[in-house]
């Protein structure tokens, strides 16, 4: 997949993965890399940025027979932002599809 498409949408993807449930890093990395062909590690800088922007928080949870695991969770702002971005993405896809299929934007 073209790298420019990926960059624009990775944050939306990560936010969307967290909408249904909190997840830990490894899970997110695998889900994301499984869908779009990016390296597993990419998810971590994205998560860090989302956290700094207040869209995501983390907490530690005890895991069986090992050190506690870091879980990522959407904040209220994160939930709103995911919803807004999802809408924008939908619009964007429609407009781009129209354009590349030789059509014009509605007058």
């Amino acid at each position: 997949m073209n790298i420019q498409f990926k960059k624009g949408v990775l944050e939306l993807c990560v936010l969307s993965l967290l909408v249904k449930s909190d997840r830990y890093g490894y899970e997110l990395a695998n889900s994301l890399a499984g869908s779009i062909s990016i390296s597993d590690g990419t998810v971590y800088p994205i998560l860090r940025k989302l956290r700094k922007d207040g869209l995501v928080t983390t907490y530690l949870q005890e895991s069986s027979g090992g050190p506690p695991r870091k879980y990522y969770k959407l904040t209220k702002i994160g939930i709103d932002e995911q919803s807004a971005l999802k809408g924008e993405w939908g619009d964007f896809v429609v407009k781009v599809s129209t354009l590349i299929n030789g059509g014009e934007d509605d007058e």
Binding site: G25, Y26, A29, D40, T42, R48, K49
Partner: protein
């Protein structure tokens, strides 16, 4: 590459970040390795899946701590100190030290005044008390009681004068030492650059 190498490389690539940030990021990767290996993967596999440390590090560019860029700022500070030290060396050599040296020689010669006065006074007293004492050839005092009295009086007043001058010189010396101390600490402050 294995986990150790991955973490080491990552650490190096993120050197522009604050240590606390860097440690947090590395901990996340450590956890990823741990989970991956729990799921039966080798650390080599996990490292390969994670991607290249150099490419991942670029994505953390927003974390760079510009307020404490170690390289440039430190270099600027050090070269500044060198410039100041060199300038001070020139100043001290050409102006500072010669000036202080001449003030010092003036101070030394000023001391000769009370010193010579005191010596003269003592000599007069001695000549008066001890008969025929050839201390000062041209000032040979005879036996006459009048001249002896004069000599004693002169001697005492000269010694008194010496004491006064001595007190004065102590103040002058204090001032001189304070001047030198201020000059030296001024130099030190300039080098420190506070």
């Amino acid at each position: 590459m294995n986990k150790v190498k991955f973490i080491k490389l990552m650490n190096r690539e993120l050197h522009l970040l604050k240590k606390s940030e860097r440690d947090e990021i590395l901990a996340e990767f450590e956890e990823h390795f741990r989970t991956g290996m729990e799921n039966g993967k080798s650390d080599e596999e996990v490292a390969a899946e994670l991607g290249k440390p150099s490419e991942l590090a670029i994505q953390y560019k927003d974390e760079i701590d510009f307020s404490q860029l170690s390289g440039g700022e430190k270099a600027a500070k050090i070269s500044r100190k060198f410039l100041v030290a060199f300038g001070l060396l020139l100043f001290n050599g050409i102006i500072g030290i010669p000036v202080i040296a001449s003030i010092f020689s003036v101070w030394v010669s000023l001391w000769t005044v009370p010193l010579s006065t005191g010596v003269t006074g003592l000599a007069l007293l001695a000549a008066a008390i001890i008969p025929n004492l050839p201390i000062i050839p041209t000032l040979y005092i005879g036996f006459s009681s009048a001249t002896i009295a004069v000599s004693i009086l002169a001697g005492i007043s000269l010694i008194g004068l010496t004491v006064l001058m001595g007190i004065g010189m102590i103040y002058v010396s204090k001032w001189f030492f304070r001047l030198v101390a201020a000059y030296v600490s001024g130099n030190i402050k300039a080098i420190k650059g506070e």
